[in-house]
Amino acid sequence: MAFSEGNLADHLGALSYSEEQIELMDVATNFCRDRSPIDKVRKLIEDEHGYDPAVWQEIVDLGWLGIAVPEAQGGVGLSMAEVAPIAEQMGRRLLATPFATCTIAAQALLAAGDEAQCAEWLPRIVAGEVATLALTEPHGDWDLGHVEATAKASGDGYVLSGTKQFVVYAQHAALVIASVTVEGAVRLALIERSAIPDSALRREIIIDETKRSYELTLDGITIPASALLDAGRSGTALTQIELASALLQAAEMCGGTQSAIDYTIEYLKTRKQFGKLIGEYQALKHPITNAYVGYEKARSHMLSAAHNFGQQGVGEIAVRMAKASADKAYSFAADRAVQFHGGFGFTHDCDAGLYRRSAIWHASQYGDAAWHRAKLADLLF
C-alpha cells in the first residue's frame, strides 16, 4: 500500500491567509473594478498595444511587480500567496497587462539566475520593464522539458534556432526568457529585446482577444554566454515556472468564473420569457447553482494553493488541484453563460463570450484539467 489515510492527509494542505494577502485583495478588488470596466476591456481589444500603459504604471507604482521578489533585489519580500489575490481580481475584470508574465519571469530568475543576472533584471522588472517567457513550441506539448529549439556555441556566445509560440506581450518586452537545448540539455536563456529583430515576431491570432501573443523565430538570434541561466537548476526553474503560472492562472480563472456567474445571474433576474423571469425556471436555476458550487470549490483550492505554494510536495499538489478545478469551474460557468443568454449569448456583444474564450485560453496554456489530474495521479497514487 503506497499510503494510508494519515500520510495522504500530509500531502494535502490546510487553508490559512496572511494579513498582507487580505489587504492586497481589498486594494486589488477596488483597483481592478475602477480601472477595468467592461467597455474599457472591449476598447482595448481593438487597440494594437493591448493594454493601458497608464494603468500599467499605476500597477508598477503600487509595487505589485515586486511582491514576491526579495527586498535585496528591490522587491517587497512577500510570496506568491500575496500575488494570487491580485491575479484573481485582474481575471475577474479581464484587466489586460503583462503582470503574470513579469511575475513568472521573476520567479524563473530567482530559481535559476546567478547573482549578476538577478541583480540586473529583477530591479528592472520590479520597476515595470516587461519580461516574458518563450517556452511553448509548435509541437504543442505541455511538457516544458520537451524542447527542440537549440543554442549552439559560437565565438563568445551562442546562436539560437527554433520557433517559440505564445510569447505573450513579446512586442513590449525588454526581456524574453526562452527554453533551448544546449548540447542536449534544456537551459533557459535571457534574450534582450534589442537582440530580437521585429521580423522575428509574428502577432498570433489567439482565442482570448484581451491578450497579445507572438510567435518568435529564434533562428540567428545570438546571446552572450552570460545570458544562459544555471544549467544545474534549469529543471527546478521549469517546475517553478509551471507552478507559478498554474497558480496565477487558477487565480485569474477563479476571478473570471465569478464574473461569468455574476453576469449570468443579472440576466436571469431581469430577462422575462413566457411571462416569467427566466431565473424562476429550475432548468436554469440548478445549473447556475452547480456553476456557483464549482466556483467556490475552485476558489478554496486556489486559496490553498496560494497559501501552500512554497511547501515542498504539498504545494505542487495544491497548485495542480487548483488549476484543474479552476479549468473545470470556469469552462462550465462560461459555457452556461453563453447558453443562458440565448440568441444574444451567440453574439460578439455578449460578455459571456469573453469569459468563454478566456477559459479556453487558460486551459491551453501550461496544462488543462486532464493534464494536471494525470500529474496528480502520479503524485497521489
Binding site: H286, K297, A298, A370
Partner: protein, 404 residues
C-alpha cells in the same frame, strides 16, 4: 459563556481528550456499524451506539460547552471543538441521538423556555431520551410548509390526527420535534403551523417500520389517531411553527452552529476507495493502473479536498466576504452528492463481484460499498432533497427569483 481559553489550556485539554479517545474508542464490534444515524437498523447497533454516546458524555466530551445547570460542561465552545476533532481523529462511532443533540438541543438552547431546557437537555446528551423529527408527511416530502397533520387544542391538551413519515429512529424515540397544523386560516399555508416537543409514547401514536432500499429497517411511518399530548408541548406560540422549523433546518443543514458536539455522519473513508481500486483487477492488472479510473479517482480526491477546504474557509471572514452564507448553505448539497457519486463509483471496481450483496460470503467487504451507495440517498433526499438545496442556494445566495 466562559472566557476564551488560552492556547496552553486548549493544548492541555487536547492532550487529555486524546488520551481518553485513544483508550476508549471502541474497536471493531464484530458487526457493521451505521455510517449515519439514519441507518440504525438492529437492536445490537442501537444499544452499542447508546452506550457509546453515554460514555462520551460522562467523560465530558459531549455537551462540554452547554450550561452546567442543564447537564452540560460549562466550558468555552473551543473545548468542544477540540473534543469533536479528537473523536474524529480516532474514528469513533457516530453520536446516535443526532436529532436531539444536533437540532432539537441547539433549538431549545436558543429559544426554549427555562422549563424546556431543564426538562430535555440532559436526557438528550446522555442518550436516555432519543429524539426524532416529525416534519415530512406522506403527501408532502420537501414541501414542509404544506404539512397537514392536525393539532386541535382541547382544554389542557392538543388532539393530534394525521401521519408523519421517513422518521429516523421513530420507533426508538421518546420525543419528537413535530410540525403540525393548528389552523387553516391565515394569509398563507405557513401561518397555520405550530411546533411541538411531543412525547412519542402517548395513546393514539403508533409507528410502523419501513423497509429501505438497502433491505434494512431504518425509519418509520408514524400514525396519530386522536392522540392527546399536554398543551405545554407547544413550543413558542401557535402559528410560530414555520419560523421554528426553519431555524431547526439551519442546524440540520449545517448552516448554523451551536452544537453539543460529536458527529452524526461518518465521512466516507476515501482512502478505503483508493485501496479498493488498488486491489481490484482489470485484465489481470490492478484497476488503479487504468488511466481512466485513475483520472476519475483524482477528480474525487480533488472534490474531497475542496469540501475539506470549504469547511475551513467558511469560518474565515475575509475569504468569504462576497457571499458570506454561500459555503455554509452548499455544505449539505456538495457533501451528500459527492458521497453518492463516490460510492457509486466504487461499485464499478468490483467486476463480476459487483453482483453480490450484503451477507453473501463472496461479497466484497461484505457488501459495504453497495449498502453505502444505496444508503447515500438518505442524505441526498432527507433534510430537503438536493434539488431543494439548489433552489435554496439559488434564491438565498445568488438572489434568483422564487418560482411561483
Amino acid at each position: 459563556m466562559s472566557s476564551r481559553p488560552t492556547p496552553a489550556e486548549l493544548a492541555d485539554y487536547e492532550a487529555q481528550a486524546d488520551a481518553w479517545f485513544r483508550e476508549n474508542t471502541p474497536k471493531d464490534p464484530g458487526f457493521m456499524l451505521p455510517l449515519t444515524f439514519m441507518e440504525v437498523s438492529t437492536d445490537q447497533q442501537f444499544d452499542f451506539l447508546c452506550a457509546w454516546q453515554r460514555k462520551v458524555y460522562e467523560a465530558g466530551y459531549l455537551g462540554a460547552s452547554w450550561p452546567v445547570e442543564y447537564g452540560g460542561g460549562g466550558l468555552h465552545p473551543d473545548f468542544q471543538r477540540i473534543a469533536t476533532k479528537v473523536m474524529k481523529k480516532y474514528d469513533g462511532p457516530i453520536m446516535l441521538n443526532a436529532i436531539g443533540i444536533g437540532w432539537a438541543g441547539p433549538l431549545i438552547m436558543d429559544i426554549g423556555s427555562e422549563e424546556e431546557k431543564k426538562k430535555y437537555i440532559k436526557g438528550m446528551l446522555n442518550a436516555e431520551d432519543i429524539w426524532c423529527q416529525g416534519f415530512s408527511e406522506p403527501e408532502n416530502g420537501s414541501d414542509l410548509g404544506n404539512a397537514q397533520l392536525k393539532a386541535v387544542r382541547d382544554g389542557d391538551e392538543y388532539v393530534l390526527n394525521g401521519s408523519k413519515i421517513w422518521t429516523s429512529l421513530g420507533d426508538r424515540a421518546k420525543y419528537m420535534i413535530l410540525l403540525a397544523r393548528t389552523s387553516n386560516e391565515g394569509p398563507n399555508k405557513y401561518a397555520g403551523l405550530s411546533f411541538f416537543l411531543s412525547p412519542m409514547h402517548a395513546p393514539g401514536i403508533e409507528t410502523r417500520r419501513i423497509k429501505k432500499l438497502t433491505g434494512e429497517y431504518g425509519f418509520v411511518q408514524c400514525f396519530f389517531t386522536d392522540a392527546r399530548i399536554p398543551a405545554e408541548c407547544l413550543m413558542g406560540n401557535e402559528g410560530d411553527g414555520w419560523q421554528i422549523a426553519m431555524k431547526t433546518l439551519e442546524y440540520e443543514r449545517g448552516a448554523k452552529v451551536n452544537l453539543a458536539g460529536g458527529y452524526f455522519l461518518k465521512e466516507l473513508d476515501a482512502m478505503g476507495v483508493v485501496e479498493l481500486a488498488r486491489q481490484s483487477q482489470r485484465g489481470g492488472k490492478p484497476l488503479l493502473d487504468d488511466p481512466v479510473m485513475k483520472d476519475r479517482m483524482v477528480d474525487f480526491m480533488m472534490d474531497i479536498q475542496a469540501l475539506n477546504l470549504n469547511n475551513q474557509r467558511r469560518r474565515m471572514g475575509p475569504l468569504v466576504q462576497d457571499r458570506p452564507m454561500g459555503l455554509a448553505l452548499m455544505n449539505k448539497l456538495a457533501r451528500t452528492e459527492m458521497i453518492r457519486e463516490l460510492t457509486e463509483f466504487s461499485l464499478s471496481f468490483q467486476g463480476t463481484r459487483g453482483g453480490y450483496y450484503v451477507d453473501d460470503p463472496c461479497a466484497v467487504d461484505n457488501g459495504y460499498w453497495h449498502r453505502s451507495y444505496l444508503n447515500s440517498f438518505s442524505a441526498t433526499i432527507g433534510g430537503g432533497t438536493s434539488e431543494i438545496q439548489r433552489n435554496i442556494i439559488a434564491e438565498h445566495v445568488l438572489g434568483l427569483p422564487k418560482g411561483r
